[in-house]
Symmetry: C2
Subunit: 454 residues, 2 copies
């Protein structure tokens, strides 16, 4: 009999594992179980669907169960895994339509159950028109409600709220974002995060509002059970036709409680750099696993679609009997608010201080192209360097200029532990439409090097 690989989870990592494994090994039996009714969709695209940059939500579905069927991969939607028996090498699956449970045996198990939204424990959180934003149905719900609304409140100041803010502002909604920390984008340093706040408010004064240092203590509804008011600890009352919760996600691993599979940071699944768990023949990939941060050499939990894809690919290669090492991540993230690019890689200054790094930084605000070109944009870069060994610890970038290019230039230098004195003379290609003769990121490097040596 052929080897049988069972995959649990249908987001990004599970389908990627299935597809890659099938390409290497046409002989293996592959079954994928997911509690959702669709698979392989891009949750990252939901804000653009709400904004109406994307009209058809089907566009976000990359491949259907039928597509997989053609590759001889059996997809079972609306089937939730409720238990893993690693000794018996089987899983218990609940058919969500019939409510029946049954056992599925495996030779190799891949857990790819992703993450689930954190619903904050706030009075009234279950009122109508309080939405999360994780599935395509969530996106459809928000978009539908938006079309008949005037005012919305976003809870939390992370990327998903920033992206949703753009979507709602574009659709003439009056938006208030409420953040409990002293600034939005808490992985950034406050100085850079403040620039984003200023941009958001300055772009749409009177329409875009941000409240920081504010805890939501209550949602109040009308007689139909629809949310009407958001009440904060300081006594503010914000009227809202709907609310979107951007209060984070957590690994979807509750069902592993008694499995013997070890969990780590935030209850994410511990894996080695081949994506194996502590249990034989059990792999885990995507948002449900922990990640190794190559800057801090610590395990962290950073759920991202790009990492999920790489981990799925890597696990498939290893399951197929070849070798793939997934060395780790650099906490690289990016988002956009209208024309503003917002990105961080590595660690912030405040994180470096907290972890005990001796670091120095430079902040530069520069044009992204030769000054005489007509379509230049400016950007602010904050480059952080280890004073002891001169390696780069992180870069934060905010601007209408091409931040992305500079972020991507620094990433391999962090990975390669390139010293700042080497990096600052990096041979980046120069032409007036692409950069000044000395690129802004090299400017920043020169300044931080000088500060270290003074």
């Amino acid at each position: 009999m052929s080897e049988k690989v069972v995959i649990i989870g249908g987001g990004a990592a599970g389908p990627k594992t299935a597809a890659k494994l099938r390409r290497i090994r046409p002989d293996i039996l592959i079954e994928l179980y997911t509690q959702e009714d669709i698979i392989s969709y891009s949750a990252c695209g939901l804000p653009y669907f709400i904004e109406n940059i994307i009209q058809n939500p089907q566009t976000l579905i990359l491949r259907t169960p039928e597509d997989f069927k053609k590759q001889n991969i059996n997809i079972f939607t609306k089937h939730r895994c409720i238990k893993v028996n690693t000794e018996e090498k089987n899983v218990v699956i609940k058919n969500l339509e019939t409510n029946e449970d049954f056992n599925v045996s495996y030779d190799v198990l891949v857990i790819a159950t992703g993450a689930v939204p954190v619903i904050p424990n706030i009075q009234g959180v279950n009122l109508k028109n309080i939405f999360k934003l994780r599935t395509i149905q969530d996106g459809i719900n928000v978009k539908q409600k938006m079309r008949t609304s005037k005012r919305a409140v976003l809870i939390g100041g992370g990327y998903i709220s920033i992206e949703t803010m753009e979507a709602l502002i574009s659709n003439n909604i009056d938006v208030t974002l409420i953040e409990k920390h002293s600034h939005i984008l808490k992985m950034f340093d406050e100085d850079l995060a403040q620039m984003v706040q200023d941009y958001i408010i300055g772009r749409n004064p009177g329409q875009a509002h941000i409240l920081t240092n504010e805890n939501v203590i209550k949602f109040e509804g009308n007689k139909n059970g629809e949310v009407e008011k958001v009440i904060t600890e300081s006594g503010k009352i914000i009227e809202a036709d709907f609310v979107v919760l951007g209060t984070g996600v957590r690994p979807n691993t509750d069902f592993l409680k008694d499995s013997g599979i070890k969990l780590g940071v935030y209850n994410s699944i511990k894996v080695d750099n081949t994506m194996k768990t502590n249990k034989q023949s059990v792999y885990a990939v995507g948002d449900c696993t922990h990640d190794f941060n190559l800057v801090t050499n610590r395990h962290v939990w950073v759920p991202l679609g790009s990492t999920a894809n790489k981990e799925g690919r890597c696990a498939a290669i290893n399951i197929a009997g070849e070798n793939c090492i997934f060395e780790g991540i650099l906490n690289s993230t990016i988002t956009k608010y209208f024309d503003l690019t917002i990105s961080i890689i590595g660690i912030s200054k405040k994180e470096a201080d907290k972890l005990g790094f001796q670091s120095e930084y430079a902040i530069v605000t520069k044009r992204d192209k030769a000054g005489y070109m007509p379509d230049t944009g400016t950007m602010t870069l904050k480059l952080l360097v280890d004073k002891y060994n001169h390696t780069i610890l992180g870069l934060q970038g905010i601007g209408e200029g091409d931040v992305n290019q500079r972020i991507n230039t620094v990433i391999p230098a962090i990975l390669g532990k390139t010293k700042i004195e080497t990096f600052m003379n990096l041979d980046l290609p120069y032409a007036p439409p692409y950069s000044p003769a000395i690129d802004p990121v090299l400017n920043a490097a020169q300044i931080v090097y000088q500060k270290i040596n003074d």
Copy 2:
């Protein structure tokens, strides 16, 4: 008496050396001599001036002699250095207005005389309306002639001709580019260069023409001595109202013949990684010096404004008594033809073969953003890897998508000698407006890694 630093040359490297040196050392005497009548201008911007993206040629001048005077740096324009006496520590300067020669003594000499156009030895090359494109006056001459012309011929298929072609096509000129090699852009492999040729012809059929494998043997003029016809070895006759020579440049070092200063590849000045020549207290920077290629570990001559700036900065730091090492270059170049980005870093496949590298490559054509975003562009990347040690040797990129970002991602990986198996899982930040979940450059890396391991 104060130390006296004499700088010869007023393009990018000389003024950069002067400005940086002044910032570190307010006490030193600094004199700069240049044969031109202006200094510190961006020759790279000339095609955009001709195209009329930039209207005022003064925009290309970054700083004037008066600006430098304020920093107590004395600029002598229209003064050519005709001899260097390293034993006596002086230079002979000719005042080009009075034709008088005089001696200038130095404690430290910086040679930054740049490059001069190669004028091909073709019959009729001195006819009127045959232009080179190096100085601002050259740019003014071409632009003026263009305004009353219908047909132009460009000689040579390098970046300067591509950029000039865009400028002329935009201004409704019928343009024929003539290249003696089998394809334009000879530092690229033929497959990628062919894509550029196809794009140029396809964008403006009937208006843009490219002739390859064609040697120009004669320019024919009318009775006023103005060029009228360009005649090739194969017998083609192309009518032209004007001609622009893009036939390359050479180091401006003839005046060093008897100085004892050692010259290397293409008669460029040999320097060490602190920008010192073989003669005591004599530095050389910018287009007149050779460059160390960090991929091939060979000296090459790649005259570029970005390198000139870095070398000038580095020399200034060393002259000031601090330490700066300029490790070398990666042959990074980029240009634009309308919406098409054209870039190469490191070496091409044909160059790798010629130098004896055992290499493997992947070519991918991919979208630059998530497929469902409306403003995606495509690009073709050719990634070249050393089969023996798995390091990256080069990347060529052509496309309307964001090639630049991918090029910049690979540069530090080449420098850091990152193995392809590590690079292919690089944590690049992902969001739908910036890239697909797996970036095209990582796709290329995965494919080439697979080819190496098969």
